[in-house]
């Protein structure tokens, strides 16, 4: 996954959005704050350090990233009355690997 902030709203440390790009070139522009649910993304966006912009870290394809995006919203909106987050069985293994890396 590469992290790239190239569009308006995605640039700079105070950007409201971050752009997540999968290794198969799908892009997700998500609100920055909920995305910090991922410990890894939090490290990536919080400043200089081990993750350089645009550098692919690990191959994560689009399908688990789609669920990840849903999870950020799910976590923010979670109340004690929430229903389940739907995860299609066929992506479960990829998701386990991707989420282990992303720490959320």
């Amino acid at each position: 996954m590469e992290r790239r902030k190239t569009y308006d709203g995605c640039e700079g440390p105070d950007a409201m959005y971050v752009k997540l790009m999968s290794s198969d070139a799908h892009e997700f522009v998500v609100k920055r704050e909920p995305a910090l649910a991922s410990g890894t993304i939090k490290v990536m966006v919080s400043g200089p350090g081990q993750f350089a912009e645009n550098e692919p870290i690990r191959s994560i394809v689009e399908r688990p990233l789609h669920i990840l995006h849903m999870y950020f919203t799910y976590k923010v909106c979670y109340t004690k009355n929430s229903t389940k987050l739907p995860i299609a069985p066929e992506i479960a293994l990829e998701l386990v690997m991707a989420v282990n890396f992303l720490d959320c």
Binding site: I67, K80, P89, L93, N100, D103
Partner: protein, 263 residues
């Protein structure tokens, strides 16, 4: 730790004013009780543990029910299979009134509480590892042998609430309280100070051949599960109970395989 909280049940006694109008119905309890109840498989997973009960107790129906064998001069208890340290949980205990005898206590216990005693007693709540409501005498026990134990609900002053066959146990591990509900009315927190512990449903009984049922009603969590755990649940569910052994054949690093198997 675990001191009792006295709360008045103002609903059913029009004459007595609530001295402590703090019924503090746990947040989320209404939603929990109005949601569709868990299926039998889930109820069994949260039911009585055949490996964690007195030797005089026989657990039946996969955990939904137990029967106490008629052993003389013995008090016997059972713990649920699951312990709770977070979230709001509720379960229903069904205990026929004619099968309670002198000491019928319903509550929770840590993993360390003893589940058998060689005399008739209110075993649950007699030590620091358990908390119980004596549904015959109406008293609350924790680290207590009985005589000075407080009454619950507190507002009843001498008249005692008759506890019907079914009662709800409400454990709020976010607030650290244990309370009970009868006929849809929450009676108030019975015990406080339970945060940070891991507590299991528990009862202690003296009546020979009594049958005590437990029906887990569900959980309200304070926070959502991590996505990693949700993914794990999905993988396990897709494999099903019979194929969990095939986790070792999945294209995953060993640490992930162990994670999927809760190791």
């Amino acid at each position: 730790m675990g001191q009792t909280a006295l709360a008045a049940g103002s609903n059913s006694t029009p004459t007595s004013q609530a001295l402590y109008p703090d019924l503090s119905c746990p947040e989320g309890l209404e939603e929990l009780l109005s949601a569709s109840p868990p299926d039998l498989g889930t109820q069994r997973r949260h039911g009585w543990n055949p490996k964690d009960c007195s030797e005089n107790i026989e657990v039946k129906e996969g955990g939904l029910c137990f029967e106490r064998r008629p052993v003389a001069q013995s008090t016997d208890g059972a713990r649920g299979k699951r312990g709770y340290s977070r979230g709001l949980h509720a379960w229903e205990i069904s205990w026929p009134p004619e099968q309670r005898g002198t000491h019928a206590v319903v509550g929770v216990a840590t993993a360390l509480a003893p589940l058998q005693a060689d005399h008739y007693a209110a075993l649950l709540g007699s030590n620091s590892e358990s908390w119980g409501w004596d549904i015959g005498r109406g008293k609350l026990y924790h680290q207590s042998k009985g005589p000075e134990a407080p009454q619950y609900p507190a507002g009843f002053q001498g008249e005692q609430l008759e506890v019907p066959e079914r009662l709800l146990v409400v454990l709020d591990m976010e607030e650290g309280t244990l309370g009970y509900a009868i006929g849809g009315t929450y009676l108030g927190p019975a015990f406080r100070g339970l945060k940070g512990k891991t507590l299991y449903p528990a009862v202690s009984a003296v009546w020979g051949q009594c049958q005590v049922r437990i029906r887990y009603l569900g959980e309200r969590r304070a926070e959502p599960h991590s996505l990693l755990h949700l993914s794990r649940l999905c993988v396990r569910h897709t494999l099903g109970d019979t194929r969990l052994g095939q986790v070792s054949a999945l294209p995953l690093p060993p640490s992930m395989k162990r994670y999927l198997l809760y190791q």
